[in-house]
């Protein structure tokens, strides 16, 4: 399966990348995507997740072609 992963704001800076393009079988959830893409990285507090631009919980399913995003709490407005 093919998953695009995106990082934003302070998380992007601390990870040092804005995106990953994963080509791997066997990722079932958003949590799996995080652990696979960042094997040695402790997850910062309060990180939010989205699949295809909608907010999801960490146990949400991922499918081939999904865009998964991780980012800190939003501060717009």
């Amino acid at each position: 399966m093919s998953i695009k992963v995106r990082y934003f704001a302070s998380l992007k800076e601390s990870i040092g990348r804005s995106e990953d393009n994963l080509e791997i079988a066997g990722l079932a959830t958003v949590g799996d995507v995080w652990r696979y893409a960042n094997p040695n990285k402790v997850l910062p507090d309060n990180i939010l997740a989205a699949v295809n631009m909608d907010y999801v919980e960490w146990d949400a399913a991922v499918n081939d072609g999904d865009e998964v995003a991780f980012f800190p709490p939003v501060t717009g407005g």
């Binding site: 631009m53 939003v74 501060t75 717009g76």
Partner: protein, 148 residues
């Protein structure tokens, strides 16, 4: 309904007026307009702020803002709404966000505009990084609750 992500400074009054006159059949139909404008201040948490960079998640921002306005339109009889938000480099005194809601009656306009602002603050994927006068940078950590 109109949602705009703006990489350049905008004039809120011009935008509201242009929007209002572009919707021809609104004339005489709305009795109430509630507008909120958030503007960049030159200080925050005790520090002088020289500028700000607003990062966003293109695509998700629009999707979330459309959902928020649709929620407001389901809860209140909204005739029309305009939401604008700056991204990129922002200077003090520049508008950051504009929410305008047109309704028949004033209570609905106040409620719907405030709902949109609060939902935008908690769900629209924007992130602010301040550039302090001391030249250090810092990410804002969390939005405060605007109902408190």
């Amino acid at each position: 309904m109109d949602i705009k992500i703006c990489p350049e400074p905008f004039d809120p009054w011009q935008e509201i007026q242009a929007h209002q006159s572009s919707v021809a059949d609104m004339a005489g139909k709305f009795g109430a307009t509630s507008i909120f404008i958030g503007t960049m201040r030159d200080f925050n948490e005790g520090d002088n702020v020289q500028g700000m960079t607003l990062e966003h998640y293109p695509g998700m921002t629009e999707k979330q803002l459309e959902k928020i306005v649709a929620e407001a339109m389901r809860q209140w009889p909204v005739i029309d709404a305009l939401v604008m938000h700056r991204v990129g480099d922002i200077l003090p005194n520049e508008p950051i966000v504009l929410v305008a809601v047109w309704t028949s009656h004033r209570g609905d306009a106040f409620d719907a505009s405030r709902y949109i602002m609060e939902a935008l603050k908690s769900r629209a994927p924007f992130w602010k990084k301040e550039l302090l006068k001391s030249q250090s940078e810092r990410w804002l950590v969390k939005n405060t609750d605007g109902y408190l």
